[in-house]
């Protein structure tokens, strides 16, 4: 029931905030803030009670919720929560609260509708992380897409319409391929077993020939690699990130990209372990290409938000590298990467937003020397630049170190190239510091807005982010433990499936061999 509540609170809160804003905008904002905070509090409570789940050896799931929806087609409202999805929804609500706070002053028109969209994106993301019915999954996949389209298209920057269209078409086109794969899976399962259902757990046991498996996997993969994004499907991202309002970029980078990573772990590998294993070298190669390509492009960007967007491309390369390395180290690294990247990149986007509020530009070549006038902001920027280049002691290091350590045993050459990406990360991260905070002051110091350090609201946003990224860096074990079961179970399941189908094929071969004798 709690699981359903997570989503309903957000959706209802969104509607209420919209209506309230018609009368009083501040009340609308407060409602939005309270709504997400309530969900955050709820998810933390669930997390605090995780011990029983961690200790028990039977049920992989902490919580489940099931209700009929359209029984004729085997569609149900089915939610389940395990360590992985718990971590993801906590991240969602944490960044959600920050998203509301960053929008507080930035959004000046149609605020009610804005918060409605913001909360509904969050609801869609929560749904994606929780649902165990593939039809509903696709539904939520769309729920997060459309409000996001509005967020970019209505409240974005100068080139917002183009960016919104591009974002929509990329995600929608790839999403349709996934829908196709979902429907095929549905019919294959139905015709083989007689029960037509969209239920995740049922579909997990579907058997199909390797050729069909490959095709279906590609359908799912299409949606996830575009979302993640994997080079060369990434070009929507720099436009969408740079044009979206600050909270939009925060949610895009912090959460929407993670739905792609989550999809790989939750659907692609468990459904199609064999096909994934076949694809692994290619997928890892694309991961490494993404790491290097993103790093190189980030280095030459002059638009701060575009720069950060390309660093996301680079960092997400580690995710696909790790997922297809198929071992516990790498997968834990991937989960850590999802969380830490959400925080560190989110912080960089909020910084870009804070700078934009002050100087009304995102062009880093016209910035410089801000350290002297905004030392607090500079320290925050330093911390998150360091996070982004993978400095030990901050969360991103643990993520990347585990991912690389895991992928080393899977593919040495590619791991070496991925590690070289760390040098590229150093180059672009230091460039951020150099162009914005170091050097001579280029902007007029007499305009007060140009030299105002962070205010209370902004400190309230950044300080929790700093604390969290340090926590993740020096004591990540609590998070690793939370994700341990889903990671290990996912790997075990895939291994079993691969072994079973291998044995089946072996048996067929033996039979054939026997017939020949």
């Amino acid at each position: 029931m709690v699981l359903l509540l997570f989503i309903i609170i957000l959706m209802a809160g969104g509607v209420v905030a919209w209506i309230a804003s018609r009368f009083n905008e501040t009340v609308g904002k407060i409602i939005a803030l309270l709504t997400v905070s309530a969900d955050l509090a709820l998810s933390i409570m669930v997390w605090l009670n995780r011990q029983a789940y961690l200790d028990s050896s039977q049920d992989q799931w902490m919580m489940r919720f099931n209700a009929e929806w359209i029984p004729t087609f085997g569609i149900s409202v089915s939610f389940a929560l395990d360590g992985l999805s718990l971590l993801m929804i906590m991240l969602t609500f944490f960044l959600g609260v920050l998203a509301v706070l960053t929008s507080w002053k930035e959004i000046e028109y149609r605020t009610g509708f804005y918060y409605f969209n913001l909360l509904w994106v969050l609801a869609g993301i929560t749904g994606v992380f929780l649902t165990m019915d593939l039809f509903l999954f696709y539904f939520f996949w769309e729920v997060m897409l459309i409000p996001m389209y509005f967020l970019i298209g209505v409240w974005g920057h100068e080139n917002k319409t183009y960016a919104a269209y591009k974002f929509f078409i990329f995600t929608q086109a790839s999403g349709l391929l996934m829908l196709l794969a979902i429907l095929s899976l549905y019919f294959i399962h139905g015709s083989a077993n007689g029960t037509y259902t969209f239920n995740y757990f049922e579909l997990l046991n579907t058997t199909y020939s390797p050729e069909v498996g490959r095709l279906l996997m590609l359908g799912f993969l299409a949606a996830f690699v575009v979302k993640l994004p994997v080079v060369p499907f990434h070009t929507w991202l720099p436009d969408a990130h740079s044009q979206a309002p600050t909270a939009g970029s925060l949610i895009l980078a912090g959460l929407l990209l993670k739905t792609g990573a989550y999809g790989l772990l939750r659907f692609v590998v468990p459904f199609f372990p064999e096909a994934s294993l076949e694809l692994a070298p290619v997928a890892m190669l694309f991961g490494v290409i993404g790491i290097l390509y993103g790093a190189i492009l980030a280095f030459s960007q002059t638009d701060f938000k575009r720069l950060v967007a390309y660093t996301s491309v680079s960092h997400m390369g580690f995710v696909i590298l790790g997922v297809f390395a198929f071992n516990e180290l790498a997968w834990q690294g991937v989960v850590m990467q999802m969380i830490t990247h959400g925080i560190s990149t989110g912080a960089l986007f909020i910084l870009a937003g804070s700078l934009y509020e002050r100087i009304h530009t995102r062009d880093i070549t016209s910035m410089g020397g801000f350290w002297a006038r905004m030392p607090f902001m500079a320290v925050i920027a330093l911390i998150f630049s360091m996070a982004s280049l993978g400095l030990p002691g901050l969360g991103n290091f643990v993520a990347e170190f585990l991912t690389l350590l895991g992928s080393w045993s899977a593919n040495r050459t590619l791991t070496i190239f991925a590690a070289i990406g760390l040098v590229g990360a150093t180059a672009y991260s230091l460039r951020i510091m150099q162009k914005i905070y170091y050097g001579e002051a280029r902007m007029d110091p007499h305009r007060s807005s140009h030299s105002q350090d962070l205010g209370t609201r902004e400190k309230l946003i950044f300080i929790p982010m700093v604390l969290l990224i340090v926590w993740l860096g020096v004591y990540p074990q609590v998070f690793i433990d939370t994700a341990k079961r889903p990671v290990n179970d996912g790997l075990k399941l895939s291994e079993q499936k691969i072994r079973k189908s291998f044995e089946a094929r072996e048996a067929v071969l033996n039979q054939k061999g026997g017939a020949h004798e």
Partner: protein, 627 residues
Amino acid sequence: MEKYLWLVPALPFAGALILILGSGKLTKGISGFIGAGSVGLSAAISLVLGLQFLREPATVIQQQLWSWFSVGGLSTNFALHLDALSMVFIFVITFVGFLIHLYSIEFMHDDDGFTRFFAYLNLFVCSMLILVLADNLVLMYLGWEGVGLCSYLLIGFWYKEEKNGYAARKAFIITRVGDTAMAIGLFMLFQTFGTLTIQEILNLAPQRLPMGSETGTIIAFLLLGGAVGKSAQLPLQTWLPDAMAGPSPVSALIHAATMVTAGVYLITRTFPLFELAPLAQNWVGIIGAVTLLIAGFSALTQFDLKRVLAYSTISQIGYMFLALGVGAYSSAIFHFMIHAFFKALLFLGAGAVIMVLHHEHDMFKMGGLKDKLPVIFWTFLIGAGSLAALPFITAGFYSKDQILWMALASEKGNIWFFLAALIGAFVTAIYTFRMVFLTFYGEEKTHVGHPVGALITIPLVILGILSFAAGFIELPHTLGHFTLFSDYMTAVVPATELSPGIESTEWLIQLSAAVLCLAGVGIAYFFYMKRTDLRAELKSSMIVTNRFWYSGWGFDQVYDFVFVKPYVYLSSINKNDIIDAFYKGIVSVSNFFHDAFARTQNGVMRWYIMGIVVGAIFVLSIGLLFQ
């Protein structure tokens, strides 16, 4: 006392934290007190621990603080490991670090970023302490990268200057290249040993890695890659000469107590791995020998006082690498300690000179300071004597002489190593005294500002005493045969095995080193005191060589051409992302067809009829064709 070990890195860290949080609110007095005081307390703890180790060198103190992460067979802890080797390091780091902090209180007094400066210094000391105290390689990597970060922050401390920012980034990025090699080394170590705890690896190494095995060799080379990055050895040495863009105390800290000695520590700490990979160990020696020579020759041609010292550091670390390469670990660590004393002294002295001369770095514009700044002069002279290894009276003589001897006498040594070290000693004497003569002798060329205060002179005097006296804790066979330091070090590293029958030549080696050193001083005296007119002639006769040496053997230019320029170019031409052109292409094609077909909908009846007729004919003819 043992249970307070964690305070050694924790105190500077706490200091840094207070200074960062309180920045803007703390007065300079309080900032300086917190900064220097926290490191001073650490030094006091180290001193007490050090006394215990002197009585009982084989002591090992383990302290587990908390579990960092444990996943899939890898379990790493925030755990400290103190033995005789790390003891020497924490003593030098905290003690020399403390003196540098004291000095900085006066040196940086008029700087706006005073509090920020001390926060960075403290963080630097803390990172270096974690590096040497870590019981596993992941924690060591944390210190390792932390040192890189702090060097970046401190080299770029005066961030308003574009070139300081450049030097800072250069240091961070180049050392990161080495760090990446080291990280890959860690992956291989984990795969081979299933653990990253240093002692476990070292214990398992002889079983898992046969002598000269391929894996072992690659691992040793990767670790060496990390070491050459941080220790500024060939081919990653180029960041160090630029690193003096930071304030002088920073240079002292980087060159003496922290950072550049990290590589020496890493190799000594993991020496069993290098012993199992003779090829890699030999390369440690080769890199050391070549680096000490090229850096020495570069130092000969510099104008900038601090740049001479920077090249001398590269050269002296080269000696340590050479010692490690021939298996003379104790000699390397001994030279590390002595070098820390005299190099800190020289940088602090140089900083004081530069300060009283109003930021004049060019030695040719100095001169005649001998009488104006007696304390700085005498202490600097002691430091210089130690660097040049003046026979018998300086600490540097005893530590460097040992390396010279080992380069030949060790089983892993050879005549080439020895000759490189010998020539290096000769060159060192020349450039060191060139520096001394130019800076302190001759006529005064720049006005001398107000004299320096006690907080600057006290550290100089203490370091001066150490640069002179610390050498007597280890005397060679031929001169007293007193082996306090090497006996102490045998608790962690083995004594060097000598080639049979070579002992009798030791006095000959010492004599030649002493003669060459004095000859070097003599040459410097001749050209820079006696016949200064010959200098221009000499310089013009070897102008090409001079320029080549001055630029650090062209490494910067080559790297710029091979790595930096192509990367920047590649990045800038693709700023708009070529892949996006494909998608934009799809859009254009769709738009083209959209326009084309839209044009057919023009509302003119005869066009529509025409269209129907053409369509009908087309369909019919296809029907007829494929009947």
